[in-house]
Structures are given as C-alpha cells and as structure tokens.
C-alpha cells in the first residue's frame, strides 16, 4: 500500500511537470552583474495580453509556472533600465536577463496633487504642471500660469498688478532686474513658483503697513541648490536679410547656496532678439533729479510686428549679481554692461497725380543707434522684525549715439550724442520699539548730468547744438509711527533740496525763426514737508488716508520770478478682503502739483532737424483728481483667476502746447490757456487652468478714452482718442506627442478732432505654435504669426510669418537644434494708401529668412 502511494505520488509529480512549464531565471545589472530586485517580469501570450507576472526577489531570481509557453514572450522592465523582451519558445531555462541602463522616461511629467495650491496668502504653482516640452526658461512657463502675466519686456504682473519683489529661494538677489532670472533660469531647475499676496518686503512693517502687491519666489529643485548650475547655447547660421552670418549665444551660471547666491549671464545675438529687457530695472522709481532729454532724434518707426521680425541689431549683455549673507544682514552687488547697435531704414514715396504728369517725392531715412550702458548697484540690507537698514549705492552711465540720414525735401544728416551720468545713494533705517512704535530715518542724494549734443548737416552746412543739464537732489526725513488696536498713525517730516542748471544755444539756422536762441536756466527749490498718515487695519478691511502737505520756495535765479507755494494732496484708499478669494480696492486722490521744471526755458531748443521747442516763461501749478476701483477674484482649486480695474483722472493745466509751422519747421511752444484733459481706462482679465490637457487659457479686454486740448496754428483743438482691445490665449498638451499655444489680439482705435470722428482702425494679430514630439529625443515646432493691420478704412495689410524648429536631445546635457525663421522670406512691409490726388507708399524692411544651427549644453 505504502509503495502504491509512493508510485502514485511520483506519477502525479511527473504528470504535473509535464503539463507545467517553470519559467525561471535571474535578472542582473549588465554593468556590474549585480542582481536586480523588484524588476517587473511579465509573460505575455501571443495576443499580447498578460498571462502571468511576478517580480524579481532579493537575489534577482524569479519563477513563473505556466501551463504552456507556446507563442509567449517574457518581458522584464524596471525603472531606469531599458525594457528586455525574450521569446520563450526557443530559449533555454533558466534564463539570465541582463538589464541595460536606459531610462523608462515618464513620457509625460504630469501634474502633482494640485497644479496650484494655496496656503494662507501664498499660492504655489507647480512648474512641472505647466511646463511644456518646448519651454526653456522659467519665463516661458510663468506665461502659462493663470493669474500671472509676463509682458514682452519680461515685467511680471499678478492679478493685473506689478509684483513688488522677485525672490530666488527667499533671497532678493536681482532686485528689479529680474528679467535676467526669468529669461535665464531653466524651468527644469525650478520646482515651484510661489506667489505671496499682500507682500510686505520689510519685516519690520509686517502687521503695521498694508501692501496690496504680490511677490514671486522661485523654489528651486534640490539638484539646483547648493551647487553651481550652468547652461550655455551657441548658435550660428545665415540670414538672407540683412545678408550675412548670424550668431546667438548665451552663457548662464547660477549658484544658490545658504549664504551665497550668484547669477552671471552673458548673452549676445544679431538675430533680432531684444536683450534690453534683461537689463531693465522694473522696480526703479522715477529719478528725483527729473532731467529729461530735449533732443528727440527718433529712429524710423518699425511696423507693429514682433521685435524678432523688425529689429536689425547687434546686442551684447553681461551681468553679474552676487549676494552674501553674513550675520543677520546681506550684501548685494549687481554689475551690468550692455551694448546695442540697432539699424533702421524707412522709405516713403508720395506720388502726386498732376495734369502735367506724376510727380514723385521720395524720402529715405536711414539710422544707426549705438548704445552702451554700464551700471552698478551695491546694497547692504538688514531685514529683521525689529530693525530694518538698507543702504543702496547706484551708478548708471549710459552712452547713446544716434546717426540718422534723411533724404527728401530737407536732405540732412543728424547725429546726436546723448550720454547720461547718474549716481545715487539711499539710506533707510527703521526701528521698532515695544512692538508698537516705529521710527524711520531716510536720506536720499542723487546727482545727474545729461549733456546733449545734436549735429546737423544740411546742404553742406553743419550746425551744432549743445545742451548742458545737471541736477542735484537731496532729501532728509524722519518718521514716527505707532499702532493701537489695528490703527497705525504716522507722521513723516523732512526737507528736500534741489539744484539744477541748464544752458543751451541754438545754432544759426538758415531761416529767421521767432524767439530767443539761448537759455541759461536755474531751477532750484527748497521744500519742507509733512505727511500725516492714518491706517486702519482690522480683520478684513484696510483703510488708509494720506495727507501730505508741503511748503516750497522756488528760486529761478532771474530766469523767471521766484515763487513760494503750498501744496496739499490728500489721498484715500480702501481695501476689503472678505475671504481669501475676493479682494476689492477703491482709491481716490486730489491735489495740486508743480509743473515739470524742464519746461521752463524761454528760448528755443532744437529737438530735431525740423522741430524746435520753446518752454514756458512763467511758473505754473497743475491740479488733478483721480478715482479708481479694482477687484480680483481667485479660486485656486478650480485654477480660476479674474481681475478688473477702472480708473478716471482729471487734469487741469494752466498752459497748453501750441504748434506753429514756419516753412519747413515746426515750432512747439506753450501758451497761457486752460488745458483740461480727462482720461478713462478700464481693463479686465480672466484666466483658468485646463487640467484635462495640462493647459490654461486667458481672455482679457481693455477700453480707454483720452480727451485733451491743444493749440494748433492758433486754433484750439479738442482731441479725443478712443480705443479698445480684446485678446485671448490658450495652450495645452492634449496628448503625449503634441502641444500647442495660440494667441489672438484684436484692437480698434479712433481719433476724434473737434468732434469730427475719423474712422475706427483695427489691428489683429494671431500667433500659433504647434509642437510635435514623435520620439522623446526629437521635437519639431511649427509656428507663425498673422498680422492684419487696417491702414485706412476697410483697407487692410495682411502679413504671415512662418518659423520652424527641429530639436534633437542627445542626452540630458546636450541638445542640438536647427531653426528656420521667416520661411517665406518676407523682406519688406510695404503698403500704399490713396487719396484723390496722391498716393502714399511706405516701405519698411523686415528680417528675412534666417537659418540657425545651435547647440545647448547643461550642467
């Protein structure tokens, strides 16, 4: 019996073994022969369906029992290794599968918990949730985030308001020149963008002074922290117009460490990319020296197409920015140099249809502008809860040289040399006592010199006009504030002093023109001022009342009579934020202010070859009133952001600009006449995430109406300009191999002079970009713009520009790209308008077809 059982057992085992196939094996890492644990092992049938699966155990072994393996395949896959596939029919068991490195890339880096999260006043946008394959810099991704707007020059707005700080990992390295970061930092290094609403940059004022502005903070990924990251682009190619070689290069280095930050960038191109935004300080306030150029030699206008179509440039910029933290304070140094050469060309051809034959007049303008700019900014800052100290030393040196040749009725060559030298030091100290008392000291000193030279060559004669203009401004002030139960009362008092001298001498002109030819002007003042301020801040309401009052003594050193003036300009603002989603603000103000002192010059100044200007010979004050209302709403869970704003201002000037023609010359002057102007403006924007395709959309609209007075040929002219615009944009990534961006803008404007309305003229711009990703290493973008500009009523100028770009990503570090811009090689923007007796043809040059090969390296 025992034996029978043994036999039966044996038989059972044998039958079993015959009917079952044991697929066994081991999975090893090809690089080091180490066993791999946790690899996924799948047996798929002939129909491609999963029959059995397992995963490799601790020694890399796996075992699957199958009734049969005919037609089956074994697939082994694991993260960070390339998938292996083996046909099981003709293979010996046990198997050894060697895995080769190769990433199973998540073809899509999809969204995390929420693409937008909200915690208190901070809204966090997940960068991975908005980035698309073709994006390079963090600025490209910021544009897709609803609620955030990035202007063409790189300026960032949140809910329709400019941001007040731009931080990288909580440090304000770049100040207002954050364009360097938005254009330079790779989006791949940034984990999240945080928007901090109602951001008060000075900790000492937190809970005391309300801020309705928001700040942006970039949260870097770990891989970009505590190390240097680099990336560089080098590209070269050929352009059909201007004919010649083109280049485009960039080098970007960034270090973000706990006590040191640095961003250094170097960029150069002649491909039409405007680098000036990289060097613009978006937080720079108005210079109190108040100088402005009298000479206004303008380069020929370019049609309203995107810069990259019209800018004939050679640009170079280098910028290095460092921040050291030591003790409780920090020291920052920002040094920039930029060079720009821009050329522009324009021709106007006017044909008069006369009985004796057509008469054709051609005017060509051909200009070159060279500008150099060197700036340095050195800041020490201590930002604590009880004390704030900031000292900022800034110098700017700019050289701007323009040469413009005009042929036509007055053939001439103008060259303007317009250097500008500026130095300022600002010191501010705030101390908080017992949590409720604040004392502030501030000292501002500014000096500026703006010499201007215009040389004019006409008909063989050379004329030269030189203007020297310099100013010094100083302001010393102290303030005291205290808070009780949500009420902040503060009083600031101080003095301002201003010294300015300007002199100019007109060259002898061929024709007799009326007026003085020489100016020696001093405009000095001494002001004592006080600003009582009342701020009520409780729960969800902030009410703020400002009552600045000042007494000023103006000394014009015999240019015109001295004056003593008192100014009072109160303003009130009210903010209501019932919850985290809604916020509304009302503002209003009125007051009197002194005129622009640059206008005080009794003599004529030549601004360009055919325009002269004389200023006022009296001192005036202007008065103005303004009211505005703004609302914004957000619902971060639905990714919805909306804002709206309306503003009305009334300005009353006791002088009016007058225009007079003397032969070929235009003379502007000011006359004693009331000039009332009114301006109304309204705008709104609505943005929403489109999570189903990892995209977002936005619609926006605006309306403005501007009414003002002017004297022309001794006739009063009332002019009203009205304009409105609507726009929309949408982007998305509906499937893995395709993404798109589309934008449309439509605007309409009209000018009404003395109640005679001209016709509405519209412009429309469409921009579309399609990106295909056939394979994770390859990427192909096709993009283009369509412009439709209405020249005269129902007479449209249409132009289509097409670009394409092919990118090959060799690996994470190296990328090659080929781009062809303006495929259709549109070289000019010409249009003709007709009247009964003449035709007018305008010709502008565009950048022609351009082929560029580039390589990108990253570390």
């Amino acid at each position: 019996m025992k034996r029978l059982i043994a036999y039966l057992t044996c038989l059972y085992v044998i039958i079993n073994t015959m009917a079952q196939v044991n697929v066994t094996g081991r999975i090893l890492d090809k690089e080091n022969n180490e066993p791999l644990v946790g690899a996924s092992v799948i047996v798929k049938g002939a129909d491609g369906k999963i029959k059995k699966f397992t995963s490799s155990k601790s020694d890399g072994d796996f075992a699957i029992t199958m009734p049969s393996v005919t037609g089956c395949r074994l697939e082994v896959s694991m993260m960070s290794f390339a998938k292996q596939s083996v046909a099981l029919d003709s293979i010996g068991l046990p198997l050894t599968v060697y895995m080769e490195p190769g990433s199973i890339q998540l073809k899509e880096v999809a969204v995390k918990a929420d693409r937008i999260r909200e915690q208190g006043d901070t809204i966090t946008y997940n960068v991975g949730g908005f980035a698309q394959q073709q994006d390079r810099s963090i600025g490209d991704v910021l544009k897709r985030m609803p609620g955030i707007d990035v202007a063409n020059n790189g300026k960032i707005q949140y809910q329709g308001e400019d941001i007040n700080k731009f931080y990288i990992e909580g440090s304000d390295l770049l100040g207002g020149k954050y364009g360097i970061a938005t254009n330079g930092i790779s989006h791949d290094d940034v984990g999240a963008v945080e928007v901090m609403e109602n951001h008060q940059p000075m900790q000492v004022l937190s809970g005391i002074s309300f801020s309705d502005k928001a700040a942006i903070n970039l949260k870097l990924k770990n891989k970009a922290k505590a190390t240097w990251t680099f990336h560089g682009d080098a590209g070269g190619g050929w352009s059909w117009q201007p004919e010649g070689a083109i280049w485009d290069g960039e080098l970007f280095a960034m270090a973000v460490m706990p006590s040191f930050q640095n961003i250094t960038t170097l960029r150069t191109n002649n491909t039409g990319e405007n680098l000036s935004s990289s060097g613009t300080d978006f937080f720079a306030g108005r210079r109190q020296t108040g100088l402005s150029r009298y000479i206004g030699v303008a380069m020929p206008g370019v049609p309203s197409l995107s810069d990259k179509r019209t800018l004939f440039n050679r640009s170079f910029i280098v910028s290095t920015n460092s921040l050291w933290k030591f003790g409780r304070g920090e020291f920052k140094a920002n040094i920039d140099y930029s060079f720009n050469r821009v050329m522009a060309d324009a021709s106007n051809i006017t044909t008069y249809f006369l009985d004796e034959g057509n008469r054709i007049i051609t005017e060509n303008r051909n200009g070159t502008e060279h500008s150099h700019s060197l700036s340095g900014k050195f800041i020490y800052e201590l930002n604590q809860k009880t004390a704030f100290i900031n000292n900022t030393l800034r110098t700017n040196i700019d050289w701007d040289d323009m040469d413009l040749t005009t042929t036509g009725s007055i053939p001439n060559t103008q060259s303007a040399r317009l250097p500008d030298y500026y130095v300022t030091n600002k010191f501010k100290m705030i101390k908080r006592f017992n949590g409720q008392h604040l004392i502030t000291f501030q000292s501002v000193n500014e000096w500026e010199s703006l010499p201007q030279t215009l040389s004019l060559n006409t008909g063989g004669d050379t004329f030269r006009q030189h203007i020297s203009d310099h100013a010094f401004y100083t302001q010393e002030s102290a303030a005291y504030a205290f808070i009780i139960k949500g009420v902040t009362l503060s009083l600031e008092g101080g003095i301002k002093g201003y010294l300015r001298s300007m002199d100019s001498r007109l060259p002898e002109l061929p024709e007799e023109l009326p007026g003085l030819t020489e100016n020696i002007v001093n405009t000095n003042y001494l002001t004592v001022y006080a600003i009582p301020k009342f701020e009520y801040w409780v729960r969800r309401v902030n009410l703020s009342l400002n009552l600045p009052v000042s007494y000023a003594h103006y000394n014009f050193d015999k240019t015109i009579a001295n004056r003593d003036e008192v100014y009072f300009s109160p303003s009130l603002s009210f903010n209501w934020k019932p919850n985290n989603r809604f916020s509304g603000t009302l503002r209003g103000g009125l007051g009197r202010s002194p005129m622009d002192l640059n206008l005080i010059h009794p003599g004529l100044i030549m601004t360009n070859y055919r325009t002269l200007k004389s200023g006022v010979d009296n001192f005036y004050n202007s008065s103005s009133q303004n009211v505005s209302a703004s609302v914004n709403y957000k619902h971060t869970r639905y990714g919805l952001f909306a804002n709206g704003m309306a503003m009305q201002t009334w300005t009353r000037l006791p002088y009016t600009m007058a225009q007079q023609l003397y032969g070929d010359y235009v003379i502007y002057s000011y006359a004693d006449a009331k000039n009332d102007s009114r301006m109304f403006m309204a705008m709104g924007s609505l943005g929403k995430t489109l999570d189903f395709m990892r995209g977002s959309c936005n619609v926006n609209g605006s309306f403005s109406r501007n009414e003002s007075q002017l004297l022309s040929q001794e006739q009063s002219v009332n002019s009203v300009s009205t304009g409105w615009s609507i726009g929309g944009k949408i982007n998305g990534n509906p499937c893995r191999w395709f993404s798109f961006d589309y934008r449309i803008d439509w605007s309409d404007s009209r000018l009404t002079i003395n109640r005679q309305s001209q016709s509405w003229l519209s412009t429309m711009e469409n921009e579309l970009s399609l990106t295909f990703i056939p394979h994770r290493k390859w990427q192909w973008t096709l993009s283009g713009e369509h412009y439709r500009n209405e020249l005269t009523e129902h007479n449209y100028k249409n132009i289509v520009m097409l670009d394409t770009k092919l990118t090959f990503q060799l690996n994470k570090r190296i990328e090659f790209a080929t781009s062809l811009t303006n495929i259709l090689n549109k070289r000019s923007y010409n249009y003709t308008t007709y009247s009964q007796l003449s035709s007018f043809e305008s010709q502008r040059q565009l950048r022609g077809r351009q082929l560029l090969f580039s390589i990108t390296l990253r570390k």
């Binding site: 996924s40 601790s58 960070s80 998540l106 995390k112 918990a113 949730g129 729960r539 499937c735 893995r736």
Partner: protein
C-alpha cells in the same frame, strides 16, 4: 583588523544607503472615503506615493508637513505662530490642518509593511510582512492621464478591490496598501465605491524616502486589534473621550442644540465600515 574596518565601513555604507533611499517616482492620489457619520458624503484627502523598486511611502503631504513641524521645538513654535497669526488675523482658513491621517511605509528587502494611523485619540502603528497578492487580470483597458491601464481584481482584507494598473510604469506600487501588479496602480475602487483612489498626477523625482516623523509617538499593535480599536471608538466616542479626560462630562450637541448620545454620532458598521472589514 583591516577586515573589521572594511566590514564596519560596509556596514556604515549600507546603513547610509538604506537611510538615503531615493525615490524614482512621485505620484499624487485623491483618496475618497465615506463620512463615518452617515456613510453618504464622499470625502477626499490628498495623498502622495513616493516609491522606488524597493521602498515606498504613502502619505498625506499636509499631515506630514504639520508632523514635521511638530517633530522639533523650533518647528512647534513656528506652527503655533502660524496658527496664532491666522487666528488673530481672523483668517481661520489659513490654519494648517492635517489632511489624511495615515502613513503606509513598505520595504521589499525587509519584507515588511508599516502602517501608522490614529484610532480616536490614540496613535497606533503595526507591522506586517508584505501581502501575497492574488490579482486576477482582465481584458479591460482604459487610459488614465495618458497611460494605458489594465483592470485587475482581488479580495483584500474583507473587501473586493478593482484596480487599474499601467505596465508602462514598471513599478510594483500603488495607493494605500495596494500593490502586487506588474505596473503602477493608477486607480483602485473597493466594491460599493465608498473607498476609491485616483491618480491626479505623477512625476519623476529623486527625493529621499524619509521615515515617518514622530514615529515614536505611535503605540505598537497588530492590524486586527487596531481595526477593533478604531471601530470601538466610532461606536462609543464619548466613552473614550470621557475616560481619557477623567469623565469631566464632555457632551456633544447636534445642530438643534440637543444632546447627542455617544452611540449616534457615527453610523453603525452595517451602514458604513472601515476600509478593511475582516476584523469582525
């Protein structure tokens, strides 16, 4: 001597390696669960799975953030400050509140799964060997977040689960305790639909898989005892609260101001039960 140093060194290296396990992938899920008061409302928590081939952790990021703050004295002070400021500013919405309550931490080399959660007022954790899964793969497929997923079903601790996994992400991982499929589980629903996990996004990551904060505050137990304790609390919450607070007479009122008796705050297990039901 040399050998000792070498082995000591290897030991340190391996400890460091275990301590600094870097994840390959980070996946976010919305976890649906019923309201234990009535069994009807569909409540949700946000959870994150971070995982590599060997280790994984499933947690609620908001809860982890608060726990991480509370794990150090400085953090505690900061948390109190955030709470106080929000309270004083009248912005009650800003007070950070914990989201989902549990953590699931798994280690394949150690063959163990750790579960941290609370039952009423107490915090518990238990350890189990990794579950031997027996999934049935069906022919149905659907696309979730652009990934082709295959349907699979299994019985697990008292409930029948339907999961959708994608072989395109060859990682044996999923939400909560679920795993055991040749690919990431993107969606899973318990029969009846009261418990459900849905992927809302995923991305590659190299974040370390850190241990649970305040782990020593959890009392050790086993799974069945934990489930029973949780059920006991739901059945008689006031009993426990009063026992803990020394019967100082905590009472609960409903919307109309009437006293509510312990038994009727939460719905009985016949209407709505825990995510695992095999404790009964």
């Amino acid at each position: 001597m040399k050998q000792t140093i070498t082995s000591l060194f290897m030991c340190i290296v391996s400890i460091a390696a275990i301590a600094q396990q870097k994840a390959d992938i980070e996946v976010s899920y919305t976890a649906h669960h019923p309201n234990m008061r009535n069994g009807k409302d569909d409540l949700t928590n946000q959870y994150i799975l971070i995982a590599n081939a060997n280790e994984s952790k499933f947690f609620s990021p908001m809860t982890e953030y608060i726990d991480s703050l509370n794990s150090t004295t400085d953090g505690k002070a900061k948390y109190q400050e955030i709470t106080r400021n929000a309270y004083l500013g009248g912005k009650m919405d800003d007070i950070p509140r914990p989201d989902g309550s549990y953590y699931v931490v798994k280690s394949r080399p150690a063959n163990k799964s750790l579960y941290y959660d609370n039952a009423g007022l107490e915090k518990y954790f238990y350890e189990e060997p990794l579950h031997e899964w027996d999934w049935e793969i069906s022919d149905s497929t659907k696309t979730i977040l652009g990934y082709e997923c295959i349907e699979a079903t299994t019985m697990f601790n008292g409930r029948k689960w339907t999961a959708w996994f994608t072989p395109e992400i060859p990682l044996d991982a999923g939400p909560w305790k679920l795993e055991g499929l040749p690919g990431l589980i993107m969606e899973a629903t318990a029969e009846g639909g009261q418990y459900r996990f849905e992927t809302t996004g995923l991305q590659q990551t190299d974040k370390p898989i850190l241990p649970v904060y305040l782990a020593d505050e959890y009392e050790k137990t086993d799974r069945i005892s934990y489930l029973k304790a949780k059920r006991n609390f739901l059945d008689n919450p006031l009993g426990q609260i009063n026992a803990k607070l020394g019967n100082e007479g905590v009472t609960i009122k409903d919307e109309n101001g009437n006293h509510v008796h312990g038994g009727s705050i939460f719905a009985p297990s016949s209407i709505v039960d825990l995510i695992e039901t095999d404790y009964r």
